[in-house]
């Protein structure tokens, strides 16, 4: 029996199938075709599904794997990829305990789903036709008319077809999980090439060396998916109970807010959404002095975003000013500004205190292992708490920018001629 499907090519035999077409019939190919047909048909294989999924991950290793994945993306594309930054409000790079969560899901395609999440966060989401309700204790209950979402909200385990392109599969072996016949199969991320495909394993922990999958032999959904690095699992999702094609109570797809909660519209809940504004408008509206960088050359532009005060979760008025060069687009930096809080916590031990012209600045420069993370400077100026960030600049250039900050104007400069 072939241990790897690609090794089976050496023993391929040709026959003529019912379509009169030459078909490759190696045992490995047969297994691959059966496996793929299961996986692509998974989300069509049930009328309803009710399931409990338990997930776990080691945040540190998850972050390392993601970094590796992002560096590979950057190497292929030449552009900076996404950065997963876990820098807390006290400045320390977060290293947390392994995260566990349990998801309960009721799904009736095409447009009915209920998801209840418990773990580091608690969340309920119900979608029924065009209406979606979501609830977290921090943000309260929100209802919006988003159009039918339904199956799109289902966990990856229930719609594994999206993973196929990104994986090379070993031969599956029969197994059993949660009382169901299943196929156990190892898979490796497909190597990306400059010309032939880089495949996004969206939903699986990215950057893993390999994945360990258990596929329901009847339905094709994933009963278990684990990501491994150096032979050890660092993230898993596993079905602990599941039932197909039951009659689901209609009440499952209605939303009842917890006692004392009022269902709000997105405008009511997120009234402090981020708005694109001019710097002058941001300066007029902010309850603190807004600062801008100065001594910039002709190729710089700014974009300004105003984030209004939000009650749930509590978030102060914040102004974001993003600078970028128009000539090459490679150099960028940003300012995040809000009113200083009483008892503002000082940054932790990862930060270096630098005193410049009587101003205390707290500088965070990422380690070599985290060289793709942004450099940060935090400080207070006239009651405004400012964070300056950049992936483009060295320490001294950032300190120069910090020293150049001046209050933003509240009116645009005149365009009238002298």
């Amino acid at each position: 029996m072939c241990d790897r499907l690609e090794n089976c090519e050496r023993s391929e035999q040709q026959t003529t199938g019912s379509l009169g077409i030459r078909l490759w019939h190696a045992k490995g190919v047969t297994e691959l075709s059966d496996l793929l047909e299961l996986l692509v048909g998974a989300d069509d294989s049930f009328r309803t599904v009710k399931a409990t999924i338990r997930s776990w991950r080691d945040d540190v290793k998850y972050g390392e794997a993601f970094e590796r994945h992002a560096e590979e993306q950057e190497r292929r594309s030449g552009a900076s990829g996404a950065v997963l930054v876990l820098v807390g409000d006290d400045g320390a790079e977060e290293e947390s305990e392994p995260a566990e969560e349990v998801v309960r899901i009721w799904l009736e395609p095409p447009d009915r789903v209920r998801v209840e999440l418990e773990g580091r966060w608690t969340q309920t989401m119900v979608s029924n036709g065009p209406t979606t309700w979501s609830y977290t204790p921090e943000m309260g209950a929100v209802r919006e008319e988003r159009g039918a979402r339904g199956q799109a909200e289902a966990p990856l385990l229930l719609q594994p077809a999206v993973l196929i392109a990104g994986l090379d599969f070993d031969s599956p072996e029969k197994t059993e999980l949660v009382g169901r016949e299943a196929l156990h199969v190892r898979a490796r991320p497909r190597p990306a090439g400059p010309m032939l495909g880089w495949h996004d394993l969206h939903g699986l922990a990215q950057g893993a060396d390999e994945y360990d999958l258990v596929v329901d032999a009847e339905r094709g959904i994933l009963l278990r998916a684990a990501a491994l690095m150096d032979g050890e699992e660092f993230a898993t999702s596993e079905v602990t109970e599941i039932a197909f094609d039951e009659q689901l109570e209609p009440e499952r797809f209605t939303f009842t807010p917890p006692p004392g909660e009022t269902v709000r519209t997105p405008e009511e809940a997120f009234g402090g959404e981020i708005e694109d504004v001019s710097i002058e408008e941001a300066a007029r509206r902010a309850p603190f002095t807004v600062f801008v960088a100065t001594k910039l050359g002709p190729h710089w532009t700014m974009d300004v975003h105003f984030h209004g005060k939000r009650e749930r979760p509590p978030m102060p008025v914040t102004v974001f000013v993003h600078y970028s060069r128009t000539d090459d687009g490679l150099e960028q930096f940003g300012l995040s500004e809000r009113a200083r809080r009483e008892n503002e916590a000082e940054p932790g031990s990862d930060w270096e205190r630098v005193d410049r012209a009587g101003q205390a600045l707290y500088v965070y420069m990422p380690s070599e292992q985290k060289r793709r993370w942004p450099s940060l400077i935090r400080f207070e100026r006239d009651g405004t708490w400012i964070e300056l960030s950049s992936q483009s600049f060295e320490r001294e250039r950032l300190l120069e920018i910090a020293a150049s900050l001046a209050p933003a104007p509240t009116e645009p400069p005149l365009l009238r001629s002298r």
Binding site: G20, R22, G78, V162, P194, I279, V292, L296, A408, P413
Partner: protein, 377 residues
């Protein structure tokens, strides 16, 4: 084992089924049904999420929809060499070559471009056919139905009908097929798994087709296949040194063959002037550009000036509205709030376009009206 499963396995493994490929590919595109497909998709939930209405509006503003047909000759040598030669109305350079990190493109209008000076700069060479040679990403984006057999380019093929999955909105592979289509028909090479023919359909009718006319696998290519040799009579660059030069305002006035105007903005505005002597090959006229900026990067205003009897390429597809102010005729191109607004006028044989973002439209009009001619010293 089913026939559909076999087709899926072929698609999944296509990328490993050849070392070299040489092909002639025909591409055609029918504008009316493409437009209707785009409008239909823009009205869907996914289309709204993906901003298709804005894309359609932008397309209309830049010439709308045009039918086209082209032929592409293709040489691929793994892992990272490709050559493309285009004829007809295709989008893209006439010749595109990629060899590892390096690439070269040649077009009669633009001459030769390359990243030899900076290999970190990428290109789109090969991206248009990537999904034909490695169709595996389509497995997650489409639902397939077996239609039967066919012969394409003399090769046995498996015909499939495919429809987008509900959650396929962000699939780049689907974008390459034509995101707006209601369904697709694919012909998969029954031995190699590559796509021999793909068609996007709207209202049951094909409107966008890519089909391989001839193909050969695993040939040996001579080394010069992936080296750029210019067509007979072609020159490497239209003008080697044609780039805007930063100059003093007085120098720009001396160099320009047309009167030059300035806004004379007060402090704290700063001024930067550049002169471009023109590039006939790229239909780019002689221009003077004056850029006004602030040290805090909060605002910029630009003046672009050229002889009024010449066209500026970027203006050709813009929508201009005629207005009159203080007895002067002006044209304005209004954009959405906080995007760039432009005001254009003609003064003493010079076309002047003033542009700025984040300023009220009336302020820009007032600035345009108040422009002063700079006399030679």
């Amino acid at each position: 084992m089913s026939e559909l499963g076999e087709a899926l396995a072929l698609i999944h493994r296509a990328r490993g089924r050849f070392e070299t490929l040489r092909a002639t590919v025909r591409e055609w595109y029918e504008a009316e049904y493409a437009r209707r497909a785009g409008e239909r998709y823009a009205a869907t939930r996914d289309g709204q999420d993906e901003g298709w209405a804005d894309l359609l509006e932008e397309r209309e503003a830049h010439g709308g929809w045009q039918s086209r047909e082209s032929v592409l000759r293709l040489w691929v040598e793994k892992p990272d060499r490709i050559r493309e030669e285009r004829e007809g109305e295709a989008h893209g350079p006439e010749i595109g070559i990629r060899d590892g990190e390096l690439w070269w493109m040649y077009d009669a209008e633009w001459g030769v471009e390359s990243n030899e000076d900076d290999p970190s700069v990428g290109s789109g060479v090969g991206q248009g056919v990537e999904h034909l040679l490695d169709p595996a990403p389509l497995l997650g984006a489409l639902r397939f139905e077996l239609l039967g057999r066919s012969t394409v380019a003399g090769r046995d093929a498996i015909r499939l009908r495919a429809r987008p999955r509900a959650n396929a909105g962000h699939s780049f592979a689907l974008f390459q097929l034509g995101r707006e289509a209601e369904e697709y028909e694919l012909s998969i090479d029954a031995e190699r798994g590559v796509i021999l023919r793909e068609a996007a359909l709207s209202e049951g009718r094909e409107y966008r087709v890519t089909e391989i006319l001839e193909v050969a696998f695993d040939e040996r290519f001579p080394p010069e296949t992936f080296a750029l040799t210019l067509p007979s009579g072609a020159s490497p660059r239209p003008n080697e040194d044609v780039q805007p030069q930063q100059v003093a305002l007085s120098e720009a006035v001396r160099l320009a063959s047309f009167p030059v105007f300035t806004a004379r903005l007060p402090s704290p505005w700063l001024e930067r002037v550049s002169y471009f002597r023109g590039d006939p090959r790229r239909r780019h006229p002689e221009t003077v550009a004056i850029h006004y900026w602030l040290e805090d990067a909060s605002h910029q205003v630009s003046l672009l000036e050229h002889a009024a009897d010449e066209l500026y390429p970027l203006d050709e597809h813009s929508r201009w509205e005629q207005i009159e102010r203080d007895g002067q005729q002006l044209e304005v191109s209004r954009q959405k709030p906080r995007a760039e607004t432009r005001v254009r006028l003609t003064r003493e044989g010079t076309s002047i376009t003033a542009s700025a973002a984040a300023y009220h439209f009336d302020d820009l009009v007032d600035l345009a009206i108040a422009l002063e001619r700079v006399r030679p010293t």
